[in-house]
Symmetry: C2
Subunit: 337 residues, 2 copies
DNA sequence: TTGAAAGCGCTAACAG
DNA sequence: CTGTTAGCGCTTTCAA
């Protein structure tokens, strides 16, 4: 009586072949759907498929990929999951990948540039067919690493110069949003007042574009943005909270309005307001990024919502075309409400 | 002059071996860190590592996994990304997996039971070493499928009978939360009143436990829960919104308080309130799941926050122990604020 | 201290 | 209509 439970080796196409009395290549052909070109008889095909189904057999994708030099894996590098913008990107990416018969693997780098590169290398070592860099700090470096391995890359959210990019129309979205907040302030105080700008990185394309729009919107309102009220302290909520503290210390009053660059920054700003000004009316806020609950906190919070659906449609179109140029596609942003 | 750009085949250990003049097996040993046991000279090891580093060489994990019968991949099946509970599970899972030298692959099934099974099978075909079923509709089926392939599984969030499970103390958390909401209502109206219960599936363990606590908390307050006010209409925001519509139609007034089962349901409930009762005070709400923005909407919204950190620590402990029993571990839930 | 060789499971020529 | 064979890139005995 054997007590040693043998390692439950997964069945292979050879097992199926043996069971039916055909060769492994026949099984392979049937399971891959190219049995017409191999002119395998419908009966054999049917018998093979029956056995495979009965056992719930699935091809070993590792072996298949090794042999075919093509894994059907598609990788995405993503900064965070914890906000509606990125989480909907993740969900829609997975869904669209599956529809196309690709297996999506998403890897989250917590906005750590070092991790981003490591993630790219790891994806390559698992032989993904394609890499999407989402909101990457240094997309071009990722593109280079992947190009050296012969793997296509695409940028999403933040653009790069060495791969096609699908991004939001940050300038347009921020111009409209800033305009709305300025108008709301003016409607209340009677005259336009400069807004604060909190969050984001002064070095990333999106923040630069939003800042450009921020300044232009001020100009259009006949005032100048005040540089000391622009605090691009990063995307973390804690940093945004500190920024407001700093602002409150430096100014006699809180600004009448604030442009908040990302929902994570908004989290910090709101935390500060609740802690330090409980019960007081909040400044008018323009949040570049949408969150359903944040939208309910106060009517003074206005939002710009990025059009994730369209962005991903365009991304997958680009991939289907196998485009290798470095086009940048900008998608309009919706104003909420 | 060759115009045809040869397909950029990735370099292999043979290339490195050839370049240095050693054999592939030597390179393999060095790159895997077991060169001491093979007693390879420090100089050779150093030379190999130098070349590998210079080229940014990374082992082909497909081939490696095929040969070793061990992929270092760890799969997680997850219902949604779009709320703070699941998104923090995803982030922490990835982080912990990486620390342990595993490569996490998360796959999101949009709460579709059919997709869950398909996801399990796909993970198996990519030869993951281990599968975590998070919030799965039918975790036992997933366990069975994986067991047949010799792959360990663990359940997270929702328990199963055929693998170890790490879940929240749903009963305890819901008892306290219901109690808090009942007390808030009583403080306002002078006497305890039955709450409504909205969201979740009547068939899943967590909802059943929370409902049991919901009823017990009512009993402890000296009243009975009203069955017609219990609407377990699923986790989707739209369904929760419909549930409130239904409730509003059936009752003379809105209930004084509502137990909302998940933040997605809360989204629907809040949407309804804003649409149909704008400007009116909202009922007291107990949300089983935390969201930072929802917490700021109204002081009448109380929350129970599941302790994701502890849950994942315990999960990875379980995996490290390679436990195969079907223990169920319950983690206390924190009350917010 | 190292190399040769077999084989993981699969696919794709090629040969019948 | 189908089987044989070589080999994808790696690890791991076994021999030297």
């Amino acid at each position: 009586m054997p007590t040693k439970s043998e390692p439950p080796r997964q069945t292979t196409i050879y097992d199926i072949a043996g069971e039916i009395g055909v060769s492994a290549s026949t099984v392979s052909a049937v399971l891959n759907g190219n049995w017409k070109t191999r002119r395998i008889s419908a009966t054999t095909a049917e018998r093979i498929r029956a056995v495979a189904d009965r056992q719930g057999f699935a091809l070993n994708q590792q072996a298949r990929a090794l042999r075919r030099q093509r894994s059907n894996l598609i990788g995405m590098i993503m900064p965070k999951y914890d906000n509606r913008y990125f989480s909907s990107i993740a969900e829609q990416f997975e869904q669209r990948a599956r529809v196309r018969g690709l297996f999506p693997i998403i890897t989250c780098t917590s906005r750590d540039p070092e991790l981003e590169l490591q993630a790219a290398r790891t994806l390559l070592s698992y032989k993904v067919d394609c890499v999407i860099a989402t909101g990457a700090t240094n997309p071009d470096l990722i593109s280079d690493i992947c190009r050296a391995a012969g793997v296509r890359t695409y940028n999403l959210d933040l653009p790069g110069a060495r791969a096609p990019s699908v991004i939001s129309d940050n300038y347009g979205g921020a111009l409209a949003l800033t305009g709305r907040v300025l108008a709301a302030c003016a409607a209340q105080t009677g005259r336009p007042e400069p807004l604060a700008f909190i969050g984001g990185r002064a070095t990333d394309h999106n923040t630069m574009e939003r800042l450009r729009a921020f300044r232009d919107a001020h100009a259009q309102a006949g005032i100048a943005a005040r540089e000391e009220m622009i605090l691009t302290t990063g995307y973390a909520a804690e940093r945004a909270e500190q920024a407001v503290t700093q602002l409150a210390a430096a100014l006699p009053d809180l600004p009448a309005g604030i442009f908040v660059n990302s929902t994570s920054a908004l989290e910090g700003v709101m935390r500060w307001l609740r802690t330090h000004h409980p019960g007081m009316p909040i400044p008018h806020i323009g949040s570049f990024d949408w969150d359903p609950f944040a939208a309910l906190i106060d009517p003074r919070i206005l939002m710009a919502r990025q059009d994730v659906e369209t962005m991903l449609d365009l991304l997958f179109d680009l991939m289907a075309d196998r485009r290798r140029d470095c086009a940048r596609i900008e998608v309009p942003v919706r104003q909420i409400p």
